[in-house]
């Protein structure tokens, strides 16, 4: 059971009209593992995430999460994943608590008031529970987005450039949150286009260039400069 990857992508190709964004992409992620997908803008990071999130169908190849095919068994996959994208999926006219209630009930959960409060506390939003999301900062919206998954407890978190737009405190918080998610046995796929400390939580680094994974390496003791060098090497190779 521990040997079977939680996420498995094989030979993924995704074409939009005439434009082939991903071609021959392979990626495996195990439970308790976090992979940071590095790539330039337009390299296809978001597309990869969308395919995993069942928001886009592969043109060719397969993507499975927890053994379910993302295209054919989308509903089963959706139970296992949580997506934190650029758009935070929250209603601005509603309060934080109302948003949580809505999304949780829609997902078939029935959180008690205590559970809701607990989720908000876990993302440090308990004091803003009754405030309208319209008044939130970007960081707060992202935290609310994550609060949904404190309640839903998916096995996989998919995050699209999650550290962008956060202040130092926010980044630190997110890092800790993701670390504890990993410890709980979850898998993380995170896209990013920077090389800084955001990579600290990643166990592996995958460089996306030319539509496929050009390099997949454990992060280990790589410094930010090492990563930058590797990236320039492979991104330039492919283009």
């Amino acid at each position: 059971m521990a040997s079977e990857p939680l996420i498995r992508v094989t030979g993924l190709r995704k074409t939009f009209g005439n434009h082939r964004v991903l071609d021959g992409l392979d990626l495996d992620v195990r439970a308790g593992e976090a992979v940071a997908v590095l790539g330039a803008n337009g390299a296809g990071k978001t597309t990869l995430l969308k395919v995993l999130a069942t928001l886009a169908r592969p043109t060719r190849g397969t993507a499975t999460v927890a053994g379910h095919d993302c295209a054919k068994d989308a509903e089963l996959v959706r139970r296992e994943i949580g997506l934190v994208a650029h758009s935070s999926h929250v209603y601005e006219d509603l309060t934080a608590a109302e948003n949580l209630t809505f999304w949780a009930t829609l997902a078939g959960l029935r959180p008690s008031a205590a559970e809701r409060a607990g989720a908000l506390a876990a993302v440090e939003l308990e004091r803003a529970a009754a405030a309208r999301v319209r008044t939130f900062s970007a960081g707060m919206k992202r935290r609310l987005s994550l609060a949904r998954f404190v309640l839903a407890r998916p096995r996989v978190l998919l995050l699209d450039e999650p550290f962008t737009g956060l202040d130092q405190g926010g980044k630190k918080w997110l890092e800790e949150h993701l670390a504890s998610f990993k410890t709980g046995g979850g898998a993380i796929v995170m896209t990013t286009h920077s090389f800084g400390r955001e990579l600290a939580v990643a166990d592996r680094i995958a460089i996306l260039a030319g539509g496929a994974i050009a390099l997949d390496t454990p992060r280990g003791a790589l410094s930010a400069d090492d990563v930058h060098r590797l990236y320039t090497l492979h991104a330039e190779d492919a283009s």
Binding site: T15, G17, T59
Partner: protein
């Protein structure tokens, strides 16, 4: 295969024209203009056929996601709109010398016009969605709604026109028509169906080639 189909179509059309314009009897009150019925009526039958095919192909596409089904639906809708347009045009041409106006709100003309606009909307929807797969999906849903709407349109318009007014003179009851007229209608129907198949086959093939070129 296609050449055979093309040849058969031409033959059928020729036969239909002969039947309609030479063999069939001249109508007493309206004169030769009435012969346009041999184009008008089979045209609307083929349009219904086309939209029926759109319905089936749309359902198949949603269940199986087969691109061929989507291409068939697209092609059939286009040809269906063509024949619907033909129905309206021939109806109008028939109407002008007969009733003195280019347009009457008679049951068939009205129903067909509604269908025309519905399926034009279908083509418009397809044209406005860049994502091929989403366009196919949405068009399939619209194709299903439109097809189920056809009987509703038919009945509502028919009741609208006939319940307080005498029935339209352009709707001949099939039971009261002499055999030769029925025969002429059927020959033209067969010919138009062949034409439909020919057009759809060509169009679907073109769509398939386009899709393959993009992939």
């Amino acid at each position: 295969m296609r050449r055979l189909l093309g040849g058969a179509t031409l033959l059928g059309l020729a036969a239909g024209l002969v039947m309609g314009f030479v063999v069939a009897p001249r109508e007493s009150t309206q004169g030769n203009v009435q012969r346009i019925m041999y184009l008008h009526v089979p045209s609307v039958w083929v349009a219904y056929l086309a939209f029926g095919v759109v319905l089936v192909a749309s359902i198949v596409y949603l269940i199986r996601r087969a691109e061929a089904a989507d291409q068939l639906a697209h092609a059939s809708a286009e040809v269906g709109v063509l024949f619907t347009g033909l129905t309206i045009a021939t109806g109008s041409i028939w109407g002008k010398p007969t009733w003195g106006t280019w347009w009457t709100w008679d049951a068939r003309l009205t129903s067909v016009s509604i269908l025309f606009v519905m399926y034009l909307g279908y083509l418009l929807l397809r044209g406005m969605i860049d994502d091929r797969e989403r366009g196919a999906r949405f068009a399939a849903v619209l194709g299903i709604v439109a097809a189920f709407n056809i009987p509703l349109v038919h009945f509502s318009v028919y009741w609208w026109r006939t319940l307080h007014q005498p029935p339209s003179l352009m709707k001949p009851g099939p039971g009261t028509m002499p055999g030769i007229i029925v025969a002429a209608l059927l020959v033209n129907f067969a010919a138009f169906t062949l034409l439909y198949v020919y057009f759809v086959a060509k169009r679907a093939r073109l769509l398939r080639l386009e899709a393959e070129a993009e992939a």
